[in-house]
Subunit: 208 residues, 3 copies
Amino acid sequence: MLFNFFPKESNLFDLFEKQANYALDAALYFKDLMLAGIIDETSMQKIKDIEHQGDDAAHDIIDHLNKTFITPFDREDIHALVNEIDDINDMIYTIVRRLKVYKFNGVNQNMVAFANVIEQSVTAVAAAVKAMRNTKNSKAVSELCVEINRLENVGDSMRDAMIAELFETEKDPMAVIKWKEVYQDAETVLDICEDVAHVVGSILVKQA
Amino acid sequence: MLFNFFPKESNLFDLFEKQANYALDAALYFKDLMLAGIIDETSMQKIKDIEHQGDDAAHDIIDHLNKTFITPFDREDIHALVNEIDDINDMIYTIVRRLKVYKFNGVNQNMVAFANVIEQSVTAVAAAVKAMRNTKNSKAVSELCVEINRLENVGDSMRDAMIAELFETEKDPMAVIKWKEVYQDAETVLDICEDVAHVVGSILVKQA
Amino acid sequence: MLFNFFPKESNLFDLFEKQANYALDAALYFKDLMLAGIIDETSMQKIKDIEHQGDDAAHDIIDHLNKTFITPFDREDIHALVNEIDDINDMIYTIVRRLKVYKFNGVNQNMVAFANVIEQSVTAVAAAVKAMRNTKNSKAVSELCVEINRLENVGDSMRDAMIAELFETEKDPMAVIKWKEVYQDAETVLDICEDVAHVVGSILVKQA
């Protein structure tokens, strides 16, 4: 502690890194579930546990913020960042929960494709949040943000193609209702990752 | 007035109590409508009037805020609180309006069940907002927030069970489209109540 | 420049006027597309270009904000305003993209009606944003905000009537799914315009 003049400030970065890692846990487990093509009670419990751990990590940051006078970056950016990262975890949990309600059974290649892009994007988000603590990393963070934006565009095109195909080939309206919603939700995860990238980018600009 | 050094500050709590009571009016009237199983022009006008009263109460708070330099808690928390309470009223109004568009006719037991949980949650929200003015009530407020979170979980399970049943038993896709949306909207009211609880909780933490 | 003590402040108003004009470009082009009843690759590219120009205008405002210490109105209002105006452009782009996915082909009179109301509302938004720079215009801005609110109510009634008719007359559930979503999205543009009006109104109140 002798050489650390801002112990609470570095702590905040640790807390954000922890929170982002839970979002990554959710993304990785989501990919496992999509590859397995089945969601049972055990997997439902596991994704719920990850979501709770993410919630706790978010609350730790808010608690920390309420007890800290000086913060390494704007309080409103801290609030935005903690909420956006939490939204990643929440949205993945929502998708798994919906698939369970819809009796998801069997591998859906569209969902595998989305899970892959989500994994890539959340991996980049976690790396950007980790690198954010040092302004020397600003070029690397900037490149990660560009990659997150690229993956959001990839997701938009995937969703559009999948929904267009759904309306053309699926004869059962119930299936259209379900899958249209789930594909839109999957793309929303990538939108949220892009929102995180915007907040991280704006924090770096202010510190430059 | 002699002993009130912060007349405007206490006024803010009065204004919030008033706003929360309009949200409660909406929840109570919504329950009446769900029990009656019919929405006519008169009931449509009444729920619209409650929504307008809620709007006016929200505008009064913003006006008060714009004219006041010192506030009893953070301005950003005041903004968040006024918007979240307004969202309760708006969402209930949206549901009633949608049911009218969908020619809702006859008691739907799922909607009665949701109206009951919504009544409980908004009652707890109004009580928490009322108690918020005195830090001595922080334990009571904290218990109300726990209850609001519990009711949100109850609502999640209700919505999932209702939608799963809808896809299994309802043969008419038009009915699935309508009820799926309305059940999700009903649960959203409980999500908003939970958001109010978070803001109230965070205000209390900062004042501790 | 000799007589301009706050060059950066007036610049902010120029930037907002520019951003609002891109939202108006989107609204006008949307009307053209609805009147033509067809969305091809060229029109898709054009609406995308307008959306990108709007994005760039939004980024310019955030960049300006990050480099400026004194702003002519609250930083949180600037953030709210830039995001809401951006949402107009985004939502119109989303609708066009969805119509493309849904193989929109042929004039739909409901969409023409919505495009007309959207054009009126975004025209009023652009005028309010332009007038905002001078407190002498506060009565004119106030009247524009009343008009934007009126148009939002018109849009609500249009959407409700269109969706009620859709469920009564359309036998194809796939068509119901598509048009219900698009009508709700079209009304959302008017909701966002109303949100812009609220922010502009609140900025004027504070400056009075």
